[in-house]
């Protein structure tokens, strides 16, 4: 067993780096970041487009630049790094087992662990798209890596299924690098990505967005030769007779991200079936005491700036836990998502232990115009904030004040719901 650390962070992407910096700045002097790749920054390194950091730095940076700023802060001292190292197990008593080419298998004990492993893309197979299994079907992120990191084009004539942000970004990247993108098909009647990306990635290049459409068949045995796209009805079922063949050599998929929590399961951490990330309390602590989570491993974010904010909170909380000054929880009030709201993070709040102001993040289940986000404390409406538009592709947040919770004795439940404005 290697000498222990106060805090061990799994993942050196935006969440892991922000958590490490915040933990150090909160006074923790013993921090290790374990990263599976050969460099820090995670997926940001392949996100070479701009648009990152407006909230954090008040300027538009590219992914690698945003990562570099955090790396520079993290490298300023007080934090150890293990690169090219894959964590293979986390035990409930917070021993992390990892392997690497240079160090072999190592076991490291930590007082606190922060999960920052990110997420993965949903593959074609999970969609049951009928047809052959030829070359030329890539998740958008895989194509992004091939184009931006390796410098090679995975296709010439491209159809994209799913209007998640990576798919939209790749529509532009493929076009700029010499391919032709025939269309982006989206099963839902609304886009899964940010509005700005529809404008600057599709509209700028005349790439059609086919809402309420999906791929119903993939042709081509060795390499993709065509995909068949059909319109879908209100329940997402293809409408017979609406099929159109799109000759192409490439199908990119941007059909959703899934928090990568196989390691969390090995530690016995409870997951939410909605977010597919750990269930956490007001200090972003999972069901296993002293193990915290932040970033896309916790729930899929739309903006990296929010990942950094959330991870910084996890870093501060883990530092307090490692120092023994994070008070034990006196009791948790559950947060319930209803009527258009899919989930909240955190899922429980201890009013005594929460900070003066706590950000609760959530997503809605459909596109809504002119609704209010309401917060009820045991049936009493505490907040009622009008939003002109709410969409599933965008993460929302409300702030809860400690004072309000403390002033509500015997609080049993906090309900989040959408209501008429």
């Amino acid at each position: 067993m290697t000498n222990g650390y106060d805090i061990l962070i799994i993942g050196g992407g935006p969440a892991g780096l922000a958590a490490a910096i915040a933990a150090r700045d909160a006074g923790c002097a013993s921090i290790l970041v374990v990263e599976r790749d050969c460099e820090l920054g995670g997926i940001l390194n392949q996100c070479i487009h701009n648009g990152f950091g407006l909230i954090t730095f008040d300027e538009e940076l590219t992914g690698p630049e945003y990562a570099a700023r955090f790396e520079e802060l993290a490298r300023a001292g007080g934090i150890d790094f293990m690169l090219d190292t894959m964590v293979i197990d986390i035990s409930a008593d917070k021993v992390v087992t990892a392997v690497s080419r240079t160090s072999g298998m190592v076991r490291i004990r930590a007082k606190a662990i922060i999960l920052a492993m990110g997420c993965r893309e949903r593959p074609r197979g999970s969609l049951n798209i009928p047809g052959y299994r030829p070359a030329g079907i890539y998740s958008a992120g895989t194509a992004q890596r091939l184009v931006n990191i390796e410098g090679f084009m995975p296709g010439r004539e491209v159809v994209i299924l799913g209007s998640g942000d990576i798919g939209l970004i790749m529509a532009r990247r493929m076009t700029l690098e010499g391919a032709h993108v025939a269309c982006v098909a989206e099963l839902m009647p609304y886009s899964g990505g940010l509005k700005r990306n529809i404008v600057q990635c599709l509209d700028d290049f005349g790439i059609p967005l086919l809402l309420s459409h999906t791929v119903v068949r993939i042709e081509g045995k060795k390499r993709v030769e065509a995909v068949i796209i059909a319109e879908v009805d209100g329940r997402g079922k293809p409408i017979p007779g609406t099929e159109t063949a799109y000759p192409c050599d490439t199908l990119l998929l941007s059909v959703g991200l899934i928090p990568e929590n196989e390691l969390s399961l090995s530690a016995g951490i409870g997951l939410s079936p909605v977010t597919r990330g750990p269930v956490v309390n007001e200090v972003l602590e999972t069901s296993v005491e002293g193990i915290f989570a932040a970033g896309n491993v916790l729930h899929v974010h739309d903006l990296v700036d929010y990942v950094s904010q959330e991870a910084a909170a996890a870093g501060r909380n883990a530092a307090a836990y490692a120092r023994g000054v994070l008070a034990g929880s006196a009791g948790a009030v559950p947060l319930t998502a209803e009527d258009g709201i899919r989930y909240t993070v955190p899922q429980t709040i201890d009013p005594v232990r929460m900070p003066e102001e706590l950000i609760v993040r959530f997503r809605v289940d459909n596109v809504y115009e002119d609704r209010s986000v309401s917060v009820y404390f045991d049936g009493k409406r505490m907040q009622h904030r009008k939003r002109s538009i709410l969409a599933p592709g965008e993460m929302e947040q409300v702030k809860l004040k400690k004072g309000d919770l403390v002033a509500s004795p015997d609080l049993k439940e906090i309900v989040f719901k959408l209501e008429e404005a």
Binding site: P64, A68, N148, I149, L176, E394
Partner: protein
């Protein structure tokens, strides 16, 4: 007078802007939540601007095969494709630092392509 509808792309919020134009000039912008929206609408209605990003091969680096690049500032939207095409055949040699100029005056815009990662 002409009225156009725009989605602001200056931040992820994506404000829906109604812009009144007359004689090539912007008369008014409604729907923006911040000052950036007005600037965006002014430009978008008259001379739309974008930052172009791409990557170019790098030799002699242990860190990377490609160096990501961006135009150091906005360039005309109509020049984006040409600017990226101007990188064809460009290869750089390590070491490269963030901010290093990769190609000067991209596609005659007066704006340089600069590195956005080290290599």
């Amino acid at each position: 007078m002409e009225q156009i509808h725009l989605t602001c792309i200056r931040c992820p919020r994506g404000c829906q802007l109604d812009v009144k134009i007359e004689g090539g000039g912007v008369l008014s912008v409604v729907g923006n939540a911040c000052k950036r929206g007005e600037t965006y609408a002014q430009a978008e209605a008259t001379n739309p601007l974008r930052v172009a990003t791409s990557s170019v091969p790098v030799t002699g680096s242990k860190l990377a095969r490609m160096v990501s690049v961006k135009t150091a500032g906005d360039i005309p939207k109509a020049k984006v494709l040409e600017a990226v095409e101007s990188l064809r055949g460009v290869t750089v040699e390590a070491p490269i630092a963030i901010g290093d100029v990769i190609v000067r005056d991209a596609a005659g815009t007066g704006v340089d392509f600069i590195a956005t990662r080290r290599a």
